[in-house]
Symmetry: C2
């Protein structure tokens, strides 16, 4: 299967781009009719590619298509750039080192020819992590695509040593064959890599069981301009600064993550996903908070607000089945304003049975109607589909993006309302409607993520589409800052969130991150302009 | 209650120093008869205290007794120093700031008079964290004793904002009154402080439920020579470097932790501790590993090796009851070489009942004999007693210390054997016997802590006692390094572990920690000589 050069995913893969007829009708009703924007051909883009500013070197590839395919991530502006063919800066060369010595050679080479280096995993960043800056300095994009091995598996300690360039399905295939799983399933799972997850502090859909990537990352190797950092594995340590935490979230600014040692878990005996509907947001939230704080052994939870619930019911599956479900729910007193709660149990049979029983009991107490596996199965089936759908809507002239944060429980409602209303207000300012809905999907005793999706008419050209995006994005980001949320729960900082970082890190905190970057990279060759200045 | 000036704990507190007659007999049989060493009087020590090298200042106390009481931690060499009256370097002054502004003033004052500053929590370090160095520079010990408030409790998000100077019982009293607990119970709990726990990456006896201090630490304030670092709380974030991890394990080298925001948990419905005996170490270890890796909701586990099991049975409670227990165990096939496994369940009734049932079932499968709450109650009753007992044995001429590390499951046996045998060999080298035993007490899917206790005859004077300690400590530490364990799972680095740190951090890792220290403290006034050079 070949990867799409100017959009998400694999050509001819299991997921379709095209939205269902009901989904298109919903978009038209909510936002008005839209017109598709022209999509550039790869040949056109290759024809106008600027010449590389670097001299020939055995470790560098100058192939035009390779350069184009490593030029942008998967943010909505990246999608506009790729589809319009106006890529902006592209790498002058792409390197595919096979050993840590070759990585070190590339860093040395970059220093000697005054180039900068951008570490590249799956190229799925949605915040500009891997986009070359407009710069006088030539750019070498350093791909980890040759670091694809399961180097070692310590079964007793449940630690796997993995190449940083392994994408989700690749590493799960290797681990599953040994009876293990990593259990990290972000929406980008099909394309994103384990090194990228570590570099950007990713969180997967089943973080409730397996933890954020921080919890899985037991040690590994980062090659830096100042030498190689090798972090051994300890189950716990009080020996000063935890160097794993320096590597985590370093976003290519400190070095190149080449190998990672990850906690893995034996494949679960059973895994199931279930659904519960609540008459109101308040009831659904009370249940999810209680489950998170009681530390019940669940593997995922997701609570959609009323608007997301209505949209998903409209977009999802067989309209007849949905109508039947809504009739049943109505009969049980769950109607207008209802919210959908999805949860998963993963593990040994006894623990899963125990957890399911507790959720059913508590759901009843909070006024929920348990509907079994119907909605859970739908979630499981389409868990990696959204980015495909974004391309399909874009083909019709509708743009979709997301804003996400995490806040303590005392602020979840405030955050959700601030983000949704600021996006709506911003859309009004340019005279357009926007369709906005939200879910909570990563739960902690302390609080949860808040994940808002918005959809708007792209406009008459890519520039208008970008300007509209910028207005909506800025409004949403400012709303997050105004409620003192983090600028990202799971996407990282990159370029797009950089200006909002000082609000949460403070001046001294930003200076601390900068000092770490300077320590590892005094010549400033590593991915400059991302994360911090 | 007054705190003992030259040993552990409170005078006239709930725990007795004196070992039981059986315990004394055991020491004599194992190690030979010992003679008590002379203990200096406080008055003598005060009389020979050197004059302060600092000028009078409203924020500084020069009181001799206060200076003496802040001069040493609670390591075995500290105990020798305090009991002999040969304190070595003492602080020139002690400061008790009441606000963050006053902390900043003291840092500024130190810079202006070329003094160094040692942040001081409970003074319970066992690795020399808070001991003044022999230095030309005067020393200000900065006590957090005035930071004792529960400033705020966010019930919905389960976050408490606490003064860094609150000791275990003080903060639990404040939180319990509101219906919450922090759940952090290191053996030093009676005296150690929450700020100290964060600064040294502490781990408590119930870390299995509540997590290490790293998991509890949600944010807070560190006053540094470069300004104040304020870390807000997020349930999860991918926004670059996690600054909490810079504060954690900073050991006073980067700044003064003044306030901490901690995850707290509603008081549990039920809590119980139980015991199981296994015929062999291998069986006990297999059970504990299985429980840790199945992520069963237990709150503590502890597996004593055969020697520790025999010692505890000899030291513990009523000899008649123990004889009866051993007879019963023998009848069930658990005799010579048996090992004791203790575990706790904490939480809601349903979860605790479920967890107990699983442990009983799995224990049977691994050949264990469940004995109910008998041993568990004994553990609970004496969980904070060991340091008192160390003083009691010292009164009789026997010295006790511990070595601890953590390693992956594939190395636990190797680590235990290496540490125990290296300590035995070192004792032989100076012609003495040593009584050594070990337990695992912090469990992770990846591995566990390895905690070794050793007891030897102090010798004819404090110098001999110290030389013997040094030989044993060095042998144990080298054994830890030889099996690639961490130099500390829960005690930190301080002075005593510093030389072993490069083995696990590497040259670049050590340089990274040094660069963080220099970033916050370019004038090198903060606790120099600890953690890293």
């Amino acid at each position: 299967m070949e990867r799409r050069w100017n959009g998400w995913g694999m050509l001819n893969g299991e997921y379709q781009h095209s939205p269902s007829p009901q989904a298109v009708t919903m978009a038209e009703e909510r936002l008005g009719a839209a017109e598709a924007l022209t999509v550039a051909e790869l040949d056109e883009v290759l024809a106008k590619l600027p010449a590389s500013r670097l001299e020939s070197h055995p470790l560098l590839s100058f192939d035009s298509e390779i350069r184009v395919r490593h030029s942008r991530g998967q943010s909505l502006p990246d999608l506009f750039a790729l589809r319009s063919g106006e890529l902006g800066a592209v790498p002058d060369a792409v390197a595919f080192p096979e050993t840590e010595e070759q990585i070190q050679d590339i860093l040395t080479l970059a220093q000697s020819c005054n180039a900068i280096v951008i570490p590249y995993g799956g190229g799925t960043s949605v915040v500009g992590h891997i986009n070359p800056p407009k710069s006088d300095k030539p750019v070498i994009t350093l791909s980890l695509a040759k670091f694809k091995e399961l180097y070692h598996l310590d079964r007793e300690s449940q630690i796997a040593t993995l190449g940083a360039g392994l994408a989700g399905p690749e590493l799960e295939k290797l681990l599953n064959a040994e009876g293990y799983t990593l259990g990290h399933f972000p929406q980008s799972w099909e394309l994103s890599t384990v090194g990228g997850w570590v570099a950007s502090r990713s969180s997967g859909q089943q973080s409730l069981r397996y933890g954020r990537i921080e919890k899985m990352f037991a040690g590994g190797t980062m090659v830096t301009p100042k030498g190689t950092l090798d972090i051994p594995t300890f189950p716990g340590t009080s020996a000063g600064t935890d160097l794993r935490e320096v590597v985590l979230g370093s976003e290519g600014r400190m070095g190149v993550i080449s190998k990672v040692k990850m906690h893995v878990t034996p494949l679960a005996e059973v895994e199931n996903f279930y659904g519960v509907f609540f008459p109101s947001w308040e009831q659904g939230k009370a249940l999810s908070k209680t489950l998170a704080q009681q530390m019940l052994p669940l593997s995922m939870m997701r609570l959609s607000n009323a608007e997301e619930t209505a949209s998903h019911l409209k977009l999802g599956g067989d309209p007849k089945a949905i109508a039947y479900l809504e009739k049943y729910l109505g009969w049980r007193g769950v109607a207008e304003g209802k919210v959908m709660f999805t949860f998963g149990t993963t593990g040994d049979k006894k623990s899963c049975r125990f957890a399911l029983k507790q959720v059913k009991r508590l759901s009843r107490e909070f006024g929920g109607v348990y509907i079994g596996k119907l909605i859970g199965k739908a979630w499981e089936h389409s868990r990696f589909r959204s980015p495909y759908l974004r391309d399909g809507f874009m083909d019709l002239g509708y743009a979709i993006d997301t804003m996400e944060t995490a806040v303590d429980w005392s602020k979840t409602d405030e955050a959700m309302e601030a983000i949704e209303s600021s996006i709506r207000t911003a859309a009004e300012s340019f005279g357009e409607k926007v369709h906005v809905f939200t879910h909570l999907s990563h739960f902690y005793p302390q609080g949860s993520s808040v994940y808002t999706t918005y959809m708007y008419r792209a406009g008459s050209d890519y520039d208008e589409a970008y300007q509209r995006w910028l207005a909506l994005k800025q409004a949403g980001a400012k709303a997050i800052v105004s409620v003192a949320g983090t600028i990202s729960h799971q996407h990282g900082v990159g370029e797009d969130h950089k200006e909002y970082l000082p609000a949460e890190k403070g001046e001294l905190g930003i200076a601390t991150i900068q000092s770490l970057c300077e320590h590892f990279d005094p010549e400033k060759i590593m991915n400059p302009g991302k994360l911090v200045d």
